[in-house]
Protein backbone atom coordinates (compact mmCIF):
# COMPACT_ATOMS: atom_id res chain seq x y z
CA UNK A 1 0.00 0.00 0.00
CA UNK A 2 2.71 2.43 0.97
CA UNK A 3 4.50 1.81 -2.25
CA UNK A 4 1.37 2.77 -4.15
CA UNK A 5 0.99 5.86 -2.03
CA UNK A 6 4.50 6.98 -2.96
CA UNK A 7 3.80 6.29 -6.62
CA UNK A 8 0.54 8.22 -6.54
CA UNK A 9 2.16 11.17 -4.78
CA UNK A 10 4.87 11.20 -7.42
CA UNK A 11 2.34 11.34 -10.24
CA UNK A 12 0.33 14.08 -8.51
CA UNK A 13 3.41 16.25 -8.00
CA UNK A 14 4.57 15.87 -11.60
CA UNK A 15 1.11 16.71 -12.98
CA UNK A 16 0.75 19.71 -10.68
CA UNK A 17 4.14 21.07 -11.67
CA UNK A 18 3.40 20.78 -15.39
CA UNK A 19 0.02 22.47 -14.95
CA UNK A 20 1.45 25.38 -12.98
CA UNK A 21 4.33 25.99 -15.35
CA UNK A 22 1.91 26.16 -18.25
CA UNK A 23 -0.26 28.94 -16.93
CA UNK A 24 1.33 32.29 -16.47
CA UNK A 25 -1.64 34.55 -16.27
CA UNK A 26 -0.01 37.86 -15.50
CA UNK A 27 2.15 37.72 -18.59
CA UNK A 28 -0.45 39.41 -20.75
CA UNK A 29 -0.69 43.19 -20.64
CA UNK A 30 -4.33 43.90 -19.88
CA UNK A 31 -6.09 46.62 -21.84
CA UNK A 32 -7.22 48.17 -18.59
CA UNK A 33 -3.62 48.97 -17.72
CA UNK A 34 -2.61 52.56 -18.31
CA UNK A 35 0.28 52.47 -20.78
CA UNK A 36 1.70 55.11 -23.15
CA UNK A 37 -1.01 57.80 -23.24
CA UNK A 38 -2.37 59.91 -26.07
CA UNK A 39 -2.41 63.68 -25.84
CA UNK A 40 -5.98 64.78 -25.22
CA UNK A 41 -7.12 68.12 -26.61
CA UNK A 42 -10.58 69.64 -26.11
CA UNK A 43 -12.06 72.46 -28.13
CA UNK A 44 -13.72 75.44 -26.44
CA UNK A 45 -15.56 78.45 -27.77
CA UNK A 46 -13.39 81.57 -27.93
CA UNK A 47 -16.48 83.78 -27.50
CA UNK A 48 -17.70 81.78 -24.56
CA UNK A 49 -14.61 80.19 -23.01
CA UNK A 50 -16.52 78.01 -20.56
CA UNK A 51 -18.33 76.13 -23.29
CA UNK A 52 -17.11 73.31 -25.43
CA UNK A 53 -17.44 73.96 -29.13
CA UNK A 54 -17.45 71.30 -31.79
CA UNK A 55 -15.20 71.53 -34.81
CA UNK A 56 -17.03 70.88 -38.03
CA UNK A 57 -15.67 68.08 -40.26
CA UNK A 58 -12.29 67.85 -38.57
CA UNK A 59 -9.62 65.80 -40.29
CA UNK A 60 -6.29 65.23 -38.56
CA UNK A 61 -3.09 63.91 -40.03
CA UNK A 62 0.44 63.75 -38.63
CA UNK A 63 3.33 65.45 -40.41
CA UNK A 64 6.62 63.68 -40.90
CA UNK A 65 10.07 65.25 -40.39
CA UNK A 66 9.82 66.88 -43.85
CA UNK A 67 6.41 68.34 -42.94
CA UNK A 68 4.69 65.97 -45.36
CA UNK A 69 1.36 64.54 -44.24
CA UNK A 70 1.37 60.82 -43.50
CA UNK A 71 -0.88 58.72 -45.69
CA UNK A 72 -3.05 57.60 -42.78
CA UNK A 73 -5.47 59.90 -40.97
CA UNK A 74 -5.59 60.13 -37.21
CA UNK A 75 -9.15 61.34 -37.49
CA UNK A 76 -11.19 61.56 -40.64
CA UNK A 77 -13.94 64.16 -41.11
CA UNK A 78 -15.66 64.00 -37.80
CA UNK A 79 -17.56 66.63 -35.88
CA UNK A 80 -16.01 66.59 -32.43
CA UNK A 81 -14.91 68.67 -29.45
CA UNK A 82 -12.28 66.23 -28.21
CA UNK A 83 -9.31 64.57 -29.92
CA UNK A 84 -6.64 62.03 -28.97
CA UNK A 85 -3.28 62.50 -30.62
CA UNK A 86 -0.48 59.92 -30.67
CA UNK A 87 2.87 61.51 -29.87
CA UNK A 88 5.96 60.39 -31.71
CA UNK A 89 8.99 59.59 -29.54
CA UNK A 90 12.21 57.68 -29.59
CA UNK A 91 14.52 58.47 -26.70
CA UNK A 92 14.00 59.37 -23.12
CA UNK A 93 14.83 62.92 -22.00
CA UNK A 94 15.21 64.19 -25.57
CA UNK A 95 13.06 67.20 -26.45
CA UNK A 96 10.78 66.04 -29.23
CA UNK A 97 8.29 67.83 -31.43
CA UNK A 98 5.37 66.28 -33.25
CA UNK A 99 3.43 68.26 -35.83
CA UNK A 100 -0.19 67.72 -36.75
CA UNK A 101 -2.40 69.21 -39.40
CA UNK A 102 -5.90 69.93 -38.14
CA UNK A 103 -8.14 70.54 -41.10
CA UNK A 104 -11.51 72.11 -40.41
CA UNK A 105 -14.41 71.74 -42.87
CA UNK A 106 -12.41 69.03 -44.60
CA UNK A 107 -15.36 68.10 -46.80
CA UNK A 108 -15.21 71.52 -48.51
CA UNK A 109 -12.05 70.47 -50.33
CA UNK A 110 -14.23 68.07 -52.34
CA UNK A 111 -16.71 70.75 -53.39
CA UNK A 112 -16.94 71.39 -57.09
CA UNK A 113 -18.71 74.17 -58.94
CA UNK A 114 -21.01 73.66 -61.92
CA UNK A 115 -18.00 73.35 -64.29
CA UNK A 116 -16.56 70.45 -62.33
CA UNK A 117 -13.69 72.64 -61.13
CA UNK A 118 -12.85 73.01 -57.46
CA UNK A 119 -15.25 75.42 -55.83
CA UNK A 120 -13.12 78.28 -54.52
CA UNK A 121 -15.95 80.00 -52.63
CA UNK A 122 -15.84 77.32 -49.97
CA UNK A 123 -12.59 75.79 -48.83
CA UNK A 124 -11.32 73.69 -45.98
CA UNK A 125 -9.05 75.31 -43.46
CA UNK A 126 -5.94 73.41 -42.38
CA UNK A 127 -4.03 74.67 -39.34
CA UNK A 128 -0.76 73.15 -38.23
CA UNK A 129 0.13 72.73 -34.57
CA UNK A 130 3.42 71.68 -33.02
CA UNK A 131 3.54 69.83 -29.71
CA UNK A 132 6.89 69.90 -27.94
CA UNK A 133 7.60 67.60 -25.01
CA UNK A 134 10.16 65.40 -23.27
CA UNK A 135 9.42 61.66 -23.06
CA UNK A 136 9.97 59.95 -19.74
CA UNK A 137 9.98 56.15 -19.48
CA UNK A 138 8.19 54.57 -16.54
CA UNK A 139 8.06 50.92 -15.53
CA UNK A 140 4.53 49.50 -15.55
CA UNK A 141 4.63 45.75 -14.95
CA UNK A 142 6.15 42.46 -16.01
CA UNK A 143 3.65 42.04 -18.84
CA UNK A 144 3.48 45.63 -20.11
CA UNK A 145 7.11 46.54 -19.55
CA UNK A 146 7.66 50.28 -19.81
CA UNK A 147 5.42 53.10 -20.90
CA UNK A 148 6.36 56.61 -21.89
CA UNK A 149 4.80 59.67 -20.38
CA UNK A 150 5.39 63.16 -21.74
CA UNK A 151 6.28 66.41 -20.08
CA UNK A 152 5.08 69.31 -22.18
CA UNK A 153 7.62 72.04 -22.76
CA UNK A 154 7.07 75.06 -20.48
CA UNK A 155 7.05 77.66 -23.23
CA UNK A 156 6.62 75.73 -26.47
CA UNK A 157 4.30 72.95 -25.35
CA UNK A 158 1.85 73.87 -28.09
CA UNK A 159 2.36 76.28 -30.97
CA UNK A 160 0.35 77.01 -34.06
CA UNK A 161 1.74 78.01 -37.44
CA UNK A 162 0.44 81.52 -38.25
CA UNK A 163 1.09 84.10 -40.89
CA UNK A 164 4.82 83.97 -40.14
CA UNK A 165 4.74 80.39 -41.40
CA UNK A 166 2.56 81.27 -44.35
CA UNK A 167 -0.89 80.61 -42.95
CA UNK A 168 -2.98 83.79 -43.05
CA UNK A 169 -6.27 82.11 -42.36
CA UNK A 170 -6.20 80.31 -39.07
CA UNK A 171 -9.25 78.96 -37.28
CA UNK A 172 -7.43 78.13 -34.05
CA UNK A 173 -7.45 81.37 -32.07
CA UNK A 174 -5.58 80.43 -28.94
CA UNK A 175 -4.74 77.57 -26.68
CA UNK A 176 -3.95 76.77 -23.10
CA UNK A 177 -2.01 73.99 -21.42
CA UNK A 178 -4.00 72.84 -18.42
CA UNK A 179 -1.79 69.90 -17.48
CA UNK A 180 1.92 69.99 -18.17
CA UNK A 181 2.30 66.23 -17.81
CA UNK A 182 0.66 63.71 -20.11
CA UNK A 183 0.59 60.58 -17.98
CA UNK A 184 -2.89 59.18 -18.48
CA UNK A 185 -5.97 59.57 -20.62
CA UNK A 186 -8.34 60.61 -17.87
CA UNK A 187 -8.54 64.32 -18.68
CA UNK A 188 -7.50 66.82 -21.33
CA UNK A 189 -4.05 68.33 -21.12
CA UNK A 190 -4.55 71.07 -23.70
CA UNK A 191 -7.51 73.31 -24.57
CA UNK A 192 -7.85 74.92 -27.97
CA UNK A 193 -10.13 77.94 -28.41
CA UNK A 194 -11.73 78.59 -31.76
Amino acid sequence: MKKYFILISFVVIVITSITFLGCERDDICSEATSTTPHLIIRFYDIDNPNNLKQVRQLEIVGLDENDMPLSEDILSRTETDSINLPLNFQDQDVITTTRFQLEKNADYSDDVDSDGEQDLTTSSNPDIISITYTPEFIYVSRACGYKSIFNLDETQGIQRDGSAQGDDDTWITSFEIINQTIENENAAQIIIYH
Binding site: I6, I13, E24, D26, T36, R142, A143
Partner: protein, 234 residues
Protein backbone atom coordinates in the same frame (compact mmCIF):
# COMPACT_ATOMS: atom_id res chain seq x y z
CA UNK B 1 6.66 -7.13 0.91
CA UNK B 2 8.11 -3.66 0.86
CA UNK B 3 10.47 -4.55 3.66
CA UNK B 4 11.84 -7.56 1.87
CA UNK B 5 12.72 -5.54 -1.23
CA UNK B 6 14.09 -2.41 0.36
CA UNK B 7 16.24 -4.02 3.00
CA UNK B 8 17.57 -6.92 1.03
CA UNK B 9 21.13 -5.79 1.59
CA UNK B 10 20.78 -5.72 5.32
CA UNK B 11 18.88 -8.92 5.66
CA UNK B 12 21.89 -10.55 7.22
CA UNK B 13 21.92 -8.04 10.06
CA UNK B 14 18.39 -8.80 10.97
CA UNK B 15 17.85 -11.59 13.35
CA UNK B 16 14.92 -12.95 15.18
CA UNK B 17 14.93 -13.59 18.87
CA UNK B 18 11.61 -14.84 20.06
CA UNK B 19 9.29 -11.88 19.31
CA UNK B 20 11.98 -9.22 19.17
CA UNK B 21 13.61 -7.96 16.04
CA UNK B 22 17.03 -6.33 16.11
CA UNK B 23 18.43 -4.51 13.12
CA UNK B 24 21.01 -1.91 12.33
CA UNK B 25 19.52 1.50 11.88
CA UNK B 26 21.61 3.81 9.72
CA UNK B 27 21.23 7.49 9.60
CA UNK B 28 23.28 10.60 9.28
CA UNK B 29 23.77 13.17 6.64
CA UNK B 30 21.97 12.83 3.34
CA UNK B 31 23.60 14.91 0.59
CA UNK B 32 22.60 15.41 -2.99
CA UNK B 33 21.65 17.71 -5.80
CA UNK B 34 18.62 18.88 -7.68
CA UNK B 35 18.57 16.94 -10.94
CA UNK B 36 15.60 18.93 -12.19
CA UNK B 37 17.68 22.09 -12.27
CA UNK B 38 20.52 20.32 -14.05
CA UNK B 39 18.16 18.89 -16.66
CA UNK B 40 16.56 22.27 -17.19
CA UNK B 41 19.99 23.89 -17.60
CA UNK B 42 20.62 21.50 -20.48
CA UNK B 43 17.21 21.87 -22.14
CA UNK B 44 16.38 25.54 -21.53
CA UNK B 45 18.99 27.93 -22.84
CA UNK B 46 17.49 30.79 -20.85
CA UNK B 47 18.18 28.97 -17.60
CA UNK B 48 21.22 27.78 -15.69
CA UNK B 49 20.86 26.43 -12.20
CA UNK B 50 22.53 24.18 -9.69
CA UNK B 51 21.46 23.22 -6.19
CA UNK B 52 23.01 21.16 -3.44
CA UNK B 53 20.61 19.71 -0.92
CA UNK B 54 21.21 18.15 2.45
CA UNK B 55 19.33 16.86 5.44
CA UNK B 56 20.36 15.50 8.77
CA UNK B 57 18.22 13.37 11.04
CA UNK B 58 17.68 14.78 14.49
CA UNK B 59 15.06 12.31 15.57
CA UNK B 60 12.91 9.76 13.89
CA UNK B 61 10.54 12.45 12.69
CA UNK B 62 12.59 15.59 12.68
CA UNK B 63 15.29 16.50 10.18
CA UNK B 64 17.35 19.63 9.70
CA UNK B 65 17.35 20.41 6.01
CA UNK B 66 18.86 22.97 3.71
CA UNK B 67 19.60 23.90 0.13
CA UNK B 68 22.39 25.91 -1.39
CA UNK B 69 22.18 26.95 -4.99
CA UNK B 70 22.88 29.31 -7.79
CA UNK B 71 20.62 30.30 -10.68
CA UNK B 72 20.65 32.42 -13.77
CA UNK B 73 17.40 33.04 -15.60
CA UNK B 74 16.58 35.22 -18.56
CA UNK B 75 13.01 36.38 -18.96
CA UNK B 76 12.30 37.81 -22.38
CA UNK B 77 8.92 39.04 -23.57
CA UNK B 78 8.09 41.29 -26.52
CA UNK B 79 8.61 44.32 -24.34
CA UNK B 80 11.12 43.35 -21.70
CA UNK B 81 14.30 41.31 -21.60
CA UNK B 82 15.81 40.79 -18.17
CA UNK B 83 18.40 38.41 -16.73
CA UNK B 84 18.46 37.61 -13.02
CA UNK B 85 21.53 35.96 -11.59
CA UNK B 86 22.54 35.05 -8.06
CA UNK B 87 22.82 32.52 -5.31
CA UNK B 88 20.66 31.46 -2.42
CA UNK B 89 20.58 29.51 0.78
CA UNK B 90 17.60 27.88 2.42
CA UNK B 91 17.51 26.31 5.85
CA UNK B 92 14.80 24.75 7.93
CA UNK B 93 13.29 21.53 9.12
CA UNK B 94 11.49 18.58 7.59
CA UNK B 95 8.93 16.67 9.55
CA UNK B 96 8.55 13.08 8.46
CA UNK B 97 5.03 11.76 8.52
CA UNK B 98 5.89 8.39 7.08
CA UNK B 99 6.42 5.49 9.42
CA UNK B 100 9.41 3.61 8.16
CA UNK B 101 9.80 -0.07 8.31
CA UNK B 102 12.83 -1.02 10.31
CA UNK B 103 16.01 0.36 8.76
CA UNK B 104 14.53 2.49 6.02
CA UNK B 105 14.87 6.22 5.83
CA UNK B 106 12.09 7.01 3.39
CA UNK B 107 10.15 10.16 3.96
CA UNK B 108 6.84 11.73 3.17
CA UNK B 109 7.32 15.06 4.78
CA UNK B 110 6.23 18.57 5.28
CA UNK B 111 8.85 21.14 5.95
CA UNK B 112 9.53 24.75 6.56
CA UNK B 113 12.37 26.85 5.21
CA UNK B 114 13.69 30.35 5.43
CA UNK B 115 15.41 31.39 2.22
CA UNK B 116 17.80 34.22 1.48
CA UNK B 117 19.15 35.25 -1.86
CA UNK B 118 21.60 37.81 -3.16
CA UNK B 119 21.40 38.52 -6.83
CA UNK B 120 21.60 41.00 -9.64
CA UNK B 121 19.16 41.86 -12.41
CA UNK B 122 20.27 43.04 -15.80
CA UNK B 123 17.85 44.75 -18.09
CA UNK B 124 19.14 43.75 -21.51
CA UNK B 125 16.52 45.52 -23.56
CA UNK B 126 13.09 47.03 -23.37
CA UNK B 127 10.56 48.28 -25.89
CA UNK B 128 8.12 50.95 -24.82
CA UNK B 129 4.59 49.56 -24.69
CA UNK B 130 2.58 51.73 -27.01
CA UNK B 131 -0.76 50.56 -28.34
CA UNK B 132 -0.89 53.30 -30.97
CA UNK B 133 1.60 52.61 -33.73
CA UNK B 134 0.53 55.56 -35.92
CA UNK B 135 4.11 56.84 -36.15
CA UNK B 136 5.47 53.40 -36.87
CA UNK B 137 8.33 54.19 -34.57
CA UNK B 138 9.04 51.66 -31.85
CA UNK B 139 11.16 53.02 -29.07
CA UNK B 140 13.62 50.20 -28.38
CA UNK B 141 16.18 50.74 -25.65
CA UNK B 142 19.15 48.46 -25.84
CA UNK B 143 21.44 49.99 -23.24
CA UNK B 144 21.87 47.24 -20.66
CA UNK B 145 21.29 48.39 -17.12
CA UNK B 146 22.56 46.23 -14.28
CA UNK B 147 21.01 46.41 -10.83
CA UNK B 148 23.49 44.92 -8.38
CA UNK B 149 23.40 43.92 -4.75
CA UNK B 150 19.74 42.97 -4.60
CA UNK B 151 18.55 40.64 -1.88
CA UNK B 152 15.42 38.84 -0.77
CA UNK B 153 14.17 36.89 2.21
CA UNK B 154 11.26 34.51 2.04
CA UNK B 155 9.58 31.61 3.85
CA UNK B 156 8.65 28.29 2.32
CA UNK B 157 6.29 25.49 3.07
CA UNK B 158 7.56 22.24 1.58
CA UNK B 159 5.67 19.06 0.86
CA UNK B 160 7.60 16.16 -0.56
CA UNK B 161 8.83 12.66 -0.45
CA UNK B 162 12.14 10.84 -0.52
CA UNK B 163 12.42 7.19 -1.35
CA UNK B 164 15.41 4.87 -1.36
CA UNK B 165 16.00 3.63 -4.89
CA UNK B 166 19.17 1.70 -4.24
CA UNK B 167 21.21 1.24 -1.10
CA UNK B 168 21.71 4.68 0.41
CA UNK B 169 20.62 6.42 -2.80
CA UNK B 170 17.42 8.44 -2.54
CA UNK B 171 15.20 10.11 -5.09
CA UNK B 172 13.07 12.98 -3.93
CA UNK B 173 10.27 15.20 -5.11
CA UNK B 174 8.84 18.27 -3.52
CA UNK B 175 6.65 21.30 -3.99
CA UNK B 176 7.55 24.56 -2.32
CA UNK B 177 4.99 27.24 -1.62
CA UNK B 178 6.82 30.47 -1.01
CA UNK B 179 5.91 33.76 0.58
CA UNK B 180 8.17 36.75 0.13
CA UNK B 181 9.00 38.46 3.41
CA UNK B 182 11.09 41.30 2.11
CA UNK B 183 13.05 42.12 -0.98
CA UNK B 184 15.25 44.86 -2.34
CA UNK B 185 13.71 46.10 -5.54
CA UNK B 186 15.60 48.17 -8.09
CA UNK B 187 14.53 51.82 -8.19
CA UNK B 188 11.85 52.31 -10.87
CA UNK B 189 11.81 48.61 -11.67
CA UNK B 190 10.99 45.33 -9.93
CA UNK B 191 12.37 41.86 -9.32
CA UNK B 192 10.95 39.57 -11.97
CA UNK B 193 12.91 36.56 -10.85
CA UNK B 194 14.64 35.86 -7.57
CA UNK B 195 17.15 32.97 -7.54
CA UNK B 196 15.79 30.34 -5.17
CA UNK B 197 12.38 31.94 -5.02
CA UNK B 198 11.63 31.68 -8.74
CA UNK B 199 9.54 34.13 -10.68
CA UNK B 200 7.49 36.68 -8.83
CA UNK B 201 3.84 37.38 -9.50
CA UNK B 202 2.11 40.74 -9.91
CA UNK B 203 -0.77 39.47 -7.87
CA UNK B 204 1.13 39.18 -4.62
CA UNK B 205 3.97 37.92 -2.57
CA UNK B 206 3.48 34.21 -3.22
CA UNK B 207 5.63 31.98 -5.37
CA UNK B 208 5.96 28.35 -6.27
CA UNK B 209 8.83 25.96 -6.77
CA UNK B 210 9.48 22.33 -7.54
CA UNK B 211 12.40 20.11 -6.68
CA UNK B 212 13.53 16.80 -8.10
CA UNK B 213 16.46 15.54 -6.10
CA UNK B 214 18.88 12.70 -5.96
CA UNK B 215 20.80 12.23 -2.73
CA UNK B 216 23.12 9.87 -0.98
CA UNK B 217 22.90 8.92 2.66
CA UNK B 218 26.28 9.05 4.36
CA UNK B 219 25.73 6.56 7.19
CA UNK B 220 27.45 8.30 10.06
CA UNK B 221 25.54 6.46 12.72
CA UNK B 222 24.53 2.88 12.94
CA UNK B 223 22.73 1.65 15.93
CA UNK B 224 21.01 -1.50 16.93
CA UNK B 225 17.39 -1.05 17.29
CA UNK B 226 14.99 -3.41 18.90
CA UNK B 227 11.50 -3.77 17.74
CA UNK B 228 9.06 -5.80 19.70
CA UNK B 229 6.65 -7.33 17.28
CA UNK B 230 5.37 -4.48 15.18
CA UNK B 231 5.14 -1.96 17.97
CA UNK B 232 7.45 0.92 17.31
CA UNK B 233 9.62 2.18 20.13
CA UNK B 234 12.05 4.99 19.93
Amino acid sequence: MLFSIASNAQIGDTEKQADTLVYKQKYGLRLGGDIGKIARSVIDKEYTGFEIIGDYRLSKKLYIAGELGTEERRIATDFLDVTAKGSYFKAGIDYNTYTNWLDMQNMIYTGFRVGVSTFSQTQNQFTIYNTDQYWNNQSINTDAIEYNGLSAIWAELVIGLKAELFTNLYAGLNIQIKAMVSQDQPVDFENLYVPGFNRTYDSGRFGLGFGYSLSYLVPIFKKDKKVVLEKETN
